[in-house]
Symmetry: C2
Subunit: 315 residues, 2 copies
């Protein structure tokens, strides 16, 4: 398939670099301020050399990229809340032209799932968004395989930054502020870590899973959210003395309630993954509990989920 | 889709009982000695009442079921080795009529993968076999999603009976023979447990995964197999003193070598699932390691994998 990629951060860049390996071709790419269109396929090295040197990917703008002759739009711009713009508008433009859309951007499916499905219903194009939940872990594909109506509940550790911090606090007996600074030094946490440590990122993933399981109706506002910023190191020490640990767990329960909160778990619980790992646990009507774990973030990891979606659309 | 189901054991029965929930219809069913064909759809309750009372599902034979007007054949007769008959012949008959085939029977894909793919190449029908590896766990679908060429190695705990026995031996400090008798009482091990405890079942699953990863070429003979029958309880005690445990691990390594053998693992290793749980671990080129765990056997669990395949074929 011919791909147009919006967003030239870690994920967008990895999609451009790996697309050829999957037999697809990137014909257009935009970052936040510039765009490039090459009907015969982009030269990834040349484009990123230019971006690194001049801060732009090409002479054109986002509008030109949206107008390019592509089969599938990959939306990998940063997640935004509320109206989920500009990501939502990008998806809208592609669907209006009967093109397929693959989202890595969580905003449109977390905040405007119903609006988006209405556009899909009117379009000959289709929509997939595996990359929006837990990176490389095939959460959405597994729900699709089992059938959303046969998944009664879902829970998981959905944010690697928060999990890294909790794991380090428990292992070293250090306080939150101390470990956060370490995580920032390592590049595991961003300079402004609020999105991760306050549980918002995990809550967006919960909203997306809830939308998939219940056919829509959820936004971030429907998720009860508590982060990890007020957990003292002493709480983790107390937990450890009792063979337990704390994880930031996102959950959509059987009644359809969605929440993110720190939870006390047995130290050897399947959910208690360590470091930046993520895990998704699905309860099913006929097949018991399924556990899926792996890398929940990262450019190539998330691009793997994007390109698996592109392959499914190509089939 | 209209399904013909071959095999009326736990898996075949669950497929018949659950098909309607998935929007499919079973129009024919055979057990080892009888068959029933109902163009308008079987009455599952009536058929299994008859089987329980008279030992037959109907007046017809397997040939009549193979000749029925179905879209997809579900092959769920017991796994056989070498020529994999009669399962292979059933799949062959369906593909020759350009029908789709879904296998729960491991024999044809473990022992005659290349022969089977040659038949698929000549047919308008397609073949899927998610249920042959680790029951409800979406191992094959996840390999398909990542792309077989991007999965560099696979390993896992692939036999619930052997894992139950090892877990109990370690937990109770009991010997193999003692725990085997207990497992047989509980129905977790069969009267003749050789297939499970000697590693053959796990080895067939390894051969199937190796065929998927490498495009064929493997049979049971290509898998180096050691079971759990000669592990003394004292070995597990020694392991436990060192924070370790033993699991029967099946593996297809980076060089393409396939083997099943007891392996010493850290007690809290992701691979060290307990009881009858299975796990599949995939190493990928761009997405790191993925872990998939859940119930590896059971009628409804395996039927879930069968019906997910039917859904994929229907799409």
């Amino acid at each position: 398939m011919k791909l147009a990629v919006l967003g030239a951060g870690a994920v967008g860049r990895s999609v451009v670099e790996l697309a050829g390996e999957y037999g697809h071709e990137v014909v257009a790419l935009a970052d936040s301020s510039s765009g490039v269109v090459e009907a015969g396929g982009l030269d990834a090295d040349a484009v990123f050399e230019r971006k690194d040197a001049d801060g732009v990917v090409g002479e054109k703008d986002v509008a030109a990229v949206l107008d390019a002759d592509y089969d599938c739009l990959v939306e990998a711009t940063p997640t935004t809340l509320d109206d989920a713009q500009p990501g939502f508008g990008h998806a809208e433009a592609a669907l209006a032209r009967d093109r397929d859309v693959v989202l890595a951007n969580k905003g449109p499916v977390a905040e405007r799932y119903d609006d988006l499905q209405a556009l899909v219903d009117e379009s000959a194009g289709d929509l997939r968004f595996e990359a929006t939940v837990a990176g490389a872990i095939p959460a959405i594909a597994t729900i699709d395989g089992v059938g959303a109506g046969r998944v009664t509940a879902a829970r998981g550790v959905l944010n690697g930054t928060a999990n890294f911090i909790l794991t380090r606090m428990a292992a070293e007996g250090l306080d939150y502020e101390h470990v956060l600074a370490e995580a920032q030094d390592l590049g595991v946490a961003e300079a402004d870590p609020a999105f991760d440590v306050e549980g918002i990122d995990a809550a967006l993933k919960c909203a997306i899973v809830a939308n998939v399981l219940h056919g829509g109706g959820y936004t971030l506002d429907d998720v009860d959210v508590r982060g990890i910023t007020d957990i003292p190191g002493s709480a983790l020490e107390l937990a450890a003395e009792d063979g337990r640990t704390v994880r930031l767990v996102g959950e959509v329960d059987e009644a359809g309630n969605a929440r993110v909160a720190p939870r006390l778990l047995p130290e050897n619980d399947t959910l208690a993954v360590t470091g930046t790992q993520n895990i998704v646990q699905l309860e099913t009507t006929n097949a018991g509990r399924l556990n899926l774990s792996g890398r929940g973030a990262g450019g190539p990891e998330t691009a793997t989920a994007v390109l698996a979606d592109v392959d499914r659309l190509a089939d």
